[in-house]
């Protein structure tokens, strides 16, 4: 037995929801207080619950951004974002994917051009935190392949692995602002690429050497090791292949490796 479709105009949810995140709208006419009491403050409890809990959710996802801007600035910025882009998923750890782009356009954050990339690393951090568990590729497994075939190896990316490239010192900024310790002056102008991984329980954010992001991005895309190393050297002639391999193993960025021609290709 299916319930009847609500009659047009009789939707309590549409009427109730319309004003929840729009302060310009009046209290919905469908609601009532007891014994003829007014409902402005009563309805505002819901408005406040919705907005403040969603601001709290963004603050939990972006703690470094909040520390940099200060709580008052952050909450004002988050409130604008929530009104423009309320969550569409009931899973709050999925919320805020558009927040870095919002920050980039947010007029009052114009003096902090590094803020959006810092947010991108924090969003990647939470994705890595909730990603599926998987055993990372070990150095031992990698050594089991004949060295002369190394160029033909293709890798399967670990579910937690993310890369964020930036014109600013995002890894340094993040490291300084995710904790409670006092922050010294940071030179934000040195470009830093971040590698975010979670080989076991702890999410780790690493500063990739020059060429490292190109190298790993190619490997993640499924290109063989030889091609990835070549494009990394192309992008940064000082890219060191040996430390590139050591770094990706230590970070746990991949789960398995196979030889390209054994893969049926």
């Amino acid at each position: 037995m299916l319930p009847p479709e609500p009659l047009p105009g009789s939707s309590y949810a549409s009427a109730f929801a319309a004003a929840l995140i729009d302060p310009g709208r009046e209290t919905p006419a469908v609601v009532a207080g007891p014994n003829g009491k007014a409902v402005v403050k009563r309805y505002n409890v819901y408005r406040n619950n919705v907005t403040s809990s969603l601001i709290d959710a963004l603050a939990a996802i972006y703690p470094a951004v909040q520390r940099i801007t200060g709580v008052e600035f952050f909450r004002a910025m988050a409130r604008f974002h929530i009104r423009a882009t309320p969550p569409t998923s009931p899973l709050l750890f999925e919320y805020g994917r558009d927040f870095p782009a919002f920050i980039e356009q947010y007029e009052y954050a114009g003096a902090m051009p590094w803020l959006a990339d810092t947010a991108r690393v924090e969003r990647a951090w939470l994705d890595a935190y909730h990603a599926a568990d998987a055993e990372p590729l070990s150095a031992q497994t990698l050594r089991s392949f004949p060295p002369e075939r190394l160029a033909n190896l293709v890798f399967v990316v670990h579910p937690a692995t993310r890369i964020v490239r930036s014109r600013f010192s995002v890894v340094t900024i993040l490291a300084a602002n995710r904790g409670e310790a006092p922050v010294d002056r940071i030179d934000v102008s040195a470009p830093e690429d971040a590698l975010i991984t979670r080989p076991d329980l702890d999410v780790v954010v690493r500063h990739l050497p020059r060429g490292g992001a190109v190298f790993l991005t190619d490997l993640i895309a499924g290109r063989p090791f030889g091609e990835a190393a070549a494009s990394a050297l192309d992008a940064s002639p000082d890219f060191d292949i040996a430390s590139g391999i050591a770094g990706m193993i230590e970070a746990g960025a991949f789960t398995t490796a196979t030889l390209e021609n054994q893969d049926g290709r």
């Binding site: 549409s14 207080g33 007014a38 309805y43």
Partner: protein
Amino acid sequence: MKAATELAACAAIPLRFPAWPIGGLAGTSFKHEHLVAIRAEHKGRGFFEVHAENYMGAGGPPHRALEALRRDHPLSLHGVCMSIGGERPLDKAHLARLRHLVDRYEPALVSEHLAWSTHGTAYFNDLLPLPYTEATLLRVCDHIDQVQEAIGRPMLLENPSTYVGFRTSTMSETDFIHAVARRSGCGLLLDVNNVFVSAANHGFSALDYLADFPLADVGEIHLAGHAEQSDDEGDLLLIDSHDGPVADAVWKLFEIVISRRGPVPTLVEWDSNIPDWPVLKAEAAAAQAILDRCDSVAEGRHAAA
């Protein structure tokens, strides 16, 4: 040798958790910051409740913590955003996620709210109220059918705390809940703090509400703290804030419910301004003492009879 054989047999089957009994136990909300303290107590009595949505990610520390907890304790899975009271069809993907979680953790209790939180494409992250009419009753029962079908077992439905009513309501909340339980076969989660909050906010008697509530269908009780604000007339408006200890008046109502209903799994909710573990544990111990007292009174009556 026997132990080694058993170990080998265990390794051959997928991970299954012990079926810890939950009857007559007090429990608390599970907060990750308490895990170390909880585990140091070596399987202390009591159960834990988690918000289902917090464990709907693919992997990582949340699941590791919940697995550790579930090995030693009964678990209650409490959904906060199924939108059972909403006008739109239930989210099929969300139903599947809940089913997966129930399969994975084998909880002793599964509950959801008489409320809604999504409409159109937006998720509002709050438990929003609905009018009590024949039309909403049909829809709520249909939604509960879908949940119970998905998880393959009855769920518990929680009474809400509200700040406004609807002009279109045609029946009382207790009549509505009574009808939902009868038609859908679901059990009920009686939140005593919600009764107290709503009674104060709408000017009815909490005792009258409890007298009308179908106590026989109650499979779990919630207790929590509330905050005080004021309404447009300057009168007291209580907020279901879950940010402090359970109020004395709510403890009193709880004792009355238990004396009528007998011991039911009882949870102390505490979701913000979270205290250190000993403080939360003491709240659960207070609830346990009331449950145990009722148990011994009942035994005394049996002995006398």
